[in-house]
C-alpha cells in the first residue's frame, strides 16, 4: 500500500537546507573514494555557503550565485552539499555531466536558481 508525504512535511525537511548548506567541490566520486577523501584541497579553495529561497512546490533553489575562487590545478567531477563550512556531514552529491579542469587560481561558479533540491 503506497502512501504520500504531505507538502508541509517535505517543506519542513527542506528548511534544513536553507538553514545551512555549504557547497563543496570534489575531484572524485565521494560514494567510492570517500566523502572527506574526495574533496578538493590546496590553493585558496574553501566551501561556499549556498543561499536558498524558501521551499516552494516541494523544492528549494539557490537564490544567489555560488562562486569558488583561487582553485588549485584539479579536475572537478562532483559538486556536493555539506552541513558545515568545515567537515560535518554530506547532504547530497551531484556528478557533473563532464569533468571540469581548473587551472591554478581559476574560478568555478554556478548561477542563481541552478541548484535545486526536491523531494518528490
Amino acid at each position: 500500500m503506497a502512501g504520500r508525504i504531505t507538502s508541509w512535511q517535505t517543506e519542513q525537511w527542506l528548511t534544513e537546507f536553507i538553514e545551512g548548506t555549504w557547497m563543496a567541490l570534489h575531484f572524485d566520486n565521494p560514494d567510492i573514494a570517500g566523502e572527506y577523501n574526495s574533496e578538493i584541497f590546496g590553493g585558496g579553495y574553501h566551501r561556499v555557503q549556498a543561499v536558498m529561497y524558501q521551499p516552494n512546490d516541494r523544492a528549494v533553489w539557490n537564490s544567489a550565485p555560488v562562486v569558488f575562487n583561487g582553485l588549485p590545478v584539479v579536475t572537478i567531477t562532483h559538486v556536493c552539499g555539506w552541513t558545515d563550512q568545515v567537515n560535518g556531514n554530506m547532504r547530497f552529491s551531484i556528478a557533473l555531466p563532464s569533468p571540469v579542469r581548473a587551472v591554478a587560481g581559476s574560478q568555478y561558479a554556478f548561477g542563481a536558481a541552478v541548484l535545486a533540491v526536491s523531494l518528490d
Binding site: F27, D28, N29, D31, I32, A33, G34, Y36, N37, S38, F41, G42, P72, V73, V74, T75, T77, V86, N87, A95, P97, S98, P99, R101, A104
Partner: protein, 731 residues
C-alpha cells in the same frame, strides 16, 4: 558448410572464423578442418598492442600425422593466424580481429593444438640497437621507425599511423637562428603537430616492442592525464593514439549490472596502498635541491613539510579546521626526476594524493551474457582491451572500469576482463618533460661558478664533412675526400669496394704508407715529413670528446686488404716521432728462449731501435707489480698517449679474432675496437680555449697524431682508418 551452422558455443549473434596463411602461401579457412569444427580456445587482447595470445585445437589431426604436408600444408611455424567475427545481424565480418602467428605446436590425444602470439609481438623478434642520432627525435617518430616494415625485414604488420586527438594544439615550435642544430628535433617542421617529447635513444639492445616501445609509451602522457597507446586495427594495422583518462561513461562504454545473471564481478580495494601525505625530494634544472626541510630555531630538531597532504590529516594542529584526528595518516616519499622544480613538485605531489587517497578498484569481470551498449545488448566477444565498462550498482554506485586485458573463451562462451577503475601510473606533464629532457640542452645553475657546457667541443667542433676522425687527415696524406666525396652511404668497413677503385697505387694521398720491411725497426714506422723533421700522422679531431668505434685496415697497392699485424698508437703531442717510442732492450733481444726475440734478431734489429713488440714495451708496470724504471720500455715524456693497440702479447691486425688465440700468422690486417675512449686537445699549444676565432686560425688545433708500425710486409703496405664519435657531432 558455412559458419552459420556452428553451435551456440560461438556465441549468439555471430561466430568466429579462423583463417591461416602459411608463409608465402594463400589464406585458408580452417574454421572447420576435415569436417570437424576447430576448437577455438582462448583469444586474449591487451592494451597496448591488442592481440596477445590465442590457442586452437584441430581435433581431426591425429598424433601420427606430420604437419606441413598434404592437406595440412598451412600448419607450419610462423603461419599467420586471423580470427574474424561474422556478425549474423549485419551479415558481414565485424571490424574486429584477433591477428597473430603460430609460435608452438602440441601433439595431443585431443588433436593438434597450436599456440599463437599477437601480430605486433613479432616486433620482439627484433632488437632496438643504439644508433647515436645526432639530433633529438620525437617519440612518435621513434615508435614509427620501430614499426617500420622496411626497417624490419619479414615484419608482417603495416606501417604505424599516428592519430592526434581532436583539438590537439601541441605543435613544433619555431626555433630562432641561435638554436644549435643538434638541439632541433629531427624529422618535424615548425607548426607541425607532435607529442612534444623527444629522445636521442634508439634503444640499448632490448626487444623492440615490450622493451623499447613500451618504455617510450610509459612516459607519453598528455596534459589532461591521457596516455598514448598503440591499438590494433584489423589488417595488422598499428595506430598510435591517446587513451583518454575517462571519468564518465561514453556512448561506447559497455554496461553491466552487478548481480545480474551471467555477470561475475570480483573487485578489490587495497587500502594499504592509500596515500594522503606526500613528501618529495628533487633537484631542479638550476641544480637546487629541495626536500621541504625545516629546522627548529635552536637547531635542535629537523622536520619536513610535505609537498601535498589531505587537510583532514595534515597539519595536525589546532589551527587546521579540516583536521579529523581519528583519520589515519599514510605518508609517502616522492623521488622526482631531475629537472622538476619545487613548484611543479607541489602540483605533482597533489596529483599523487588525489590519485592515491582512494586506492580504486582492480579486479575482473566475467561475462556469460552480453553487456548493454548504447541501450541494446552488444556481443561480449567484441570487447577489447582499451574499452570501458560500467558496473552499475557496485557498492551502491556506478563504477567505470578501464579494460586492460580481455580474454575470450570461445569454448564456454565466456569473456574475462581484467579491469581497473583508476588510470595507474599517470605522470604529470612536468614529470614527462623532466624525464625526457634532452641531455645536451644547456642549463644555468643557481649556484655561481658551476656552469659547464654540455657539448664538449663548442670551440673546435667535430665535423665529419671536414674529415674529423679520418686516418689520415690534416696533413699531406688526407683520406677525407675518399670518405666524404667518393664513398656512398652504403660503404662498410674495410671499404674494399672503394679502396680497390681508389687504390694506393693511383691515390697514394689517401693512405698512410709503411715501406717494405727494413732490417732496422726504426724504418718500419709510418711518418710524415715536416719542415723540422719526421713525425706522427696527423688526424683531424675536435676540441674534446669520446670515440665509440675505431676501424683501421691495411691494404696492398691495389686496395685489397693486406693480412699483416701492426701497432697503432694515438697521441696528443704534435712532436710525437719514433724517438718517443720504446726502444729494444739488449736483455730481451739476447733472450735465447723467446721466439719473438729470435725473430727480431733474425730480422736484423738491434738494441735501441724503436719497436713496439718487445716484451713489456709501453707497460708502466712489470709482471711483478713493480713500476717500470727502465726508460727504454716507456714512451718519452710528453708523448701524451691517448690510446694504442698492439704489443708483445697481442698485436693489432687480427680482428675479429686475437693473435693469442688464432696464432701469429692468422692476421687479417684489420683492427676494429668498440671500446669508448676520450680525448682532449685543449691542453696543447695549438689551442686557445679563450678564443674560438684564434683556435680556428691555428692549423693544428683539434688534431691528434697517429704512429703506425708494421714489419710483416715484403712490399709497401698502406693504412686507412676512421674514428667514430660517441656524442652528437657535426654532420
Amino acid at each position: 558448410m558455412t559458419g552459420a551452422d556452428i553451435t551456440s558455443r560461438y556465441g549468439a549473434g555471430g561466430y568466429f572464423a579462423l583463417f591461416i596463411t602459411p608463409p608465402g602461401g594463400a589464406s585458408i579457412d580452417v574454421t572447420f578442418f576435415r569436417g570437424a569444427p576447430t576448437d577455438i580456445g582462448t583469444l586474449t587482447f591487451a592494451d597496448p598492442f591488442g592481440p596477445t595470445t590465442a590457442q586452437f585445437t584441430f581435433p581431426s589431426i591425429t598424433q601420427k600425422e606430420r604437419a606441413g604436408t598434404g592437406d595440412m600444408k598451412w600448419l607450419v611455424p610462423n603461419s599467420d593466424v586471423d580470427v574474424l567475427y561474422f556478425d549474423l545481424n549485419t551479415g558481414e565480418y565485424a571490424d574486429w580481429a584477433w591477428e597473430g602467428y603460430i609460435i608452438s605446436e602440441d601433439i595431443t590425444e585431443e588433436g593438434r593444438a597450436i599456440t599463437c602470439k599477437g601480430a605486433f609481438f613479432q616486433l620482439d623478434n627484433f632488437l632496438a640497437a643504439p644508433q647515436y642520432p645526432q639530433q633529438p627525435i620525437p617519440y612518435e617518430l621513434l615508435i614509427q621507425d620501430a614499426f617500420d616494415p622496411a626497417g624490419n625485414p619479414s615484419l608482417r604488420t603495416r606501417a604505424l599511423t599516428t592519430t592526434f586527438p581532436e583539438g590537439w594544439t601541441e605543435v613544433v615550435p619555431r626555433f630562432n637562428k641561435d638554436t644549435p642544430w643538434y638541439l632541433k628535433p629531427w624529422g618535424v617542421a615548425a607548426g607541425q603537430r607532435w607529442t612534444g617529447i623527444t629522445s636521442r635513444s634508439t634503444g640499448s639492445w632490448e626487444p623492440k616492442l615490450t622493451g623499447f616501445v613500451q618504455t617510450l609509451l610509459s612516459v607519453m602522457f598528455t596534459a589532461d592525464g591521457g596516455q598514448w597507446t598503440i591499438r590494433h586495427k584489423r589488417g595488422r594495422q598499428p595506430t598510435l593514439l591517446v587513451r583518454k583518462a575517462l571519468r564518465y561513461p561514453t556512448d561506447d562504454t559497455y554496461v553491466v549490472d552487478v548481480g545480474a545473471h551471467g555477470v561475475k564481478i570480483s573487485a578489490s580495494r587495497d587500502f594499504s596502498q592509500s596515500v594522503n601525505v606526500v613528501y618529495a625530494q628533487g633537484q631542479d634544472l638550476a641544480g637546487t635541491q629541495f626536500s621541504g626541510q625545516q629546522v627548529a630555531n635552536d637547531g635542535s630538531t629537523t622536520f619536513y613539510e610535505p609537498f601535498a597532504a589531505l587537510p583532514t590529516v595534515y597539519p595536525a594542529t589546532d589551527t587546521n579546521a579540516r583536521l579529523i584526528p581519528h583519520m589515519m595518516r599514510k605518508e609517502s616519499l616522492l623521488q622526482l626526476p631531475q629537472g622538476v622544480d619545487a613548484i611543479a613538485a607541489r602540483d605533482i605531489a597533489a596529483t599523487q594524493v588525489r590519485k592515491h587517497v582512494d586506492p580504486g578498484f582492480t579486479g575482473s569481470i566475467e561475462l556469460q551474457v552480453d553487456p548493454m551498449r548504447r541501450g541494446v545488448a552488444s556481443t561480449r566477444f567484441l570487447i577489447r582491451a582499451g574499452d570501458t565498462i560500467l558496473a552499475r550498482g557496485l557498492m551502491g554506485t556506478d563504477v567505470l572500469f578501464h579494460v586492460s586485458q580481455a580474454t575470450i573463451n570461445a569454448k564456454d562462451g565466456s569473456v574475462s576482463l581484467t579491469v581497473d577503475s583508476k588510470f595507474r601510473d599517470t605522470l604529470t606533464v612536468s614529470e614527462v618533460m623532466a624525464r625526457t629532457r634532452d641531455a645536451l640542452d644547456p642549463v644555468r645553475q643557481l649556484q655561481a661558478g658551476r656552469f659547464s657546457v654540455t657539448v664538449q667541443d663548442m670551440v673546435k667542433p667535430w665535423s665529419y664533412s671536414e674529415g674529423s676522425g679520418v686516418i689520415p687527415s690534416g696533413g699531406t696524406a688526407d683520406a677525407t675526400p675518399l670518405f666524404t666525396k667518393y664513398m656512398g652511404s652504403d660503404a662498410r668497413f674495410p671499404w674494399t669496394d672503394y679502396t680497390t677503385k681508389f687504390p694506393p697505387r693511383d691515390y697514394p694521398e689517401f693512405y698512410v704508407r709503411v715501406p717494405a720491411r727494413r732490417d732496422n725497426a726504426d724504418k718500419n714506422w709510418a711518418l710524415v715529413n715536416r719542415d723540422d723533421g719526421v713525425y706522427g700522422i696527423p688526424v683531424k679531431m675536435s676540441q674534446a670528446g669520446s670515440i665509440r668505434l675505431t676501424q683501421i685496415a691495411a691494404y696492398d697497392k691495389l686496395g685489397n686488404v693486406k693480412p699483416v699485424s701492426f701497432h697503432v698508437g694515438i697521441y696528443g703531442s704534435k712532436g710525437i716521432s719514433i724517438v718517443s717510442m720504446p726502444a729494444i732492450p739488449q736483455a730481451w733481444l739476447d733472450s735465447p728462449t723467446d721466439p719473438e726475440a729470435k725473430r727480431a734478431r733474425d730480422l736484423g734489429y738491434l738494441a735501441g731501435q724503436r719497436y713496439p713488440f718487445f716484451k713489456d714495451a709501453f707497460e708502466r708496470f712489470k709482471g711483478s707489480g713493480e713500476l717500470q724504471s727502465e726508460p727504454v720500455y716507456l714512451l718519452a715524456d710528453g708523448a701524451n698517449q691517448i690510446m694504442a693497440w698492439g704489443n708483445y702479447y697481442e698485436r693489432a691486425g687480427y680482428s675479429p679474432g686475437l693473435m693469442s688465440i688464432s696464432g701469429r700468422e692468422s692476421w687479417t690486417g684489420q683492427l676494429v675496437d668498440e671500446t669508448t675512449w676520450s680525448y682532449d686537445t685543449t691542453n696543447t699549444t695549438d689551442f686557445d680555449p679563450y678564443s674560438a676565432e684564434n683556435t680556428a686560425n691555428m692549423t693544428n688545433s683539434g688534431m691528434l697524431y697517429v704512429m703506425i708500425y708494421c714489419d710483416d710486409q715484403d712490399e709497401d703496405v698502406y693504412f686507412l682508418g676512421r674514428l667514430w664519435r660517441a656524442e652528437a657531432a657535426g654532420k
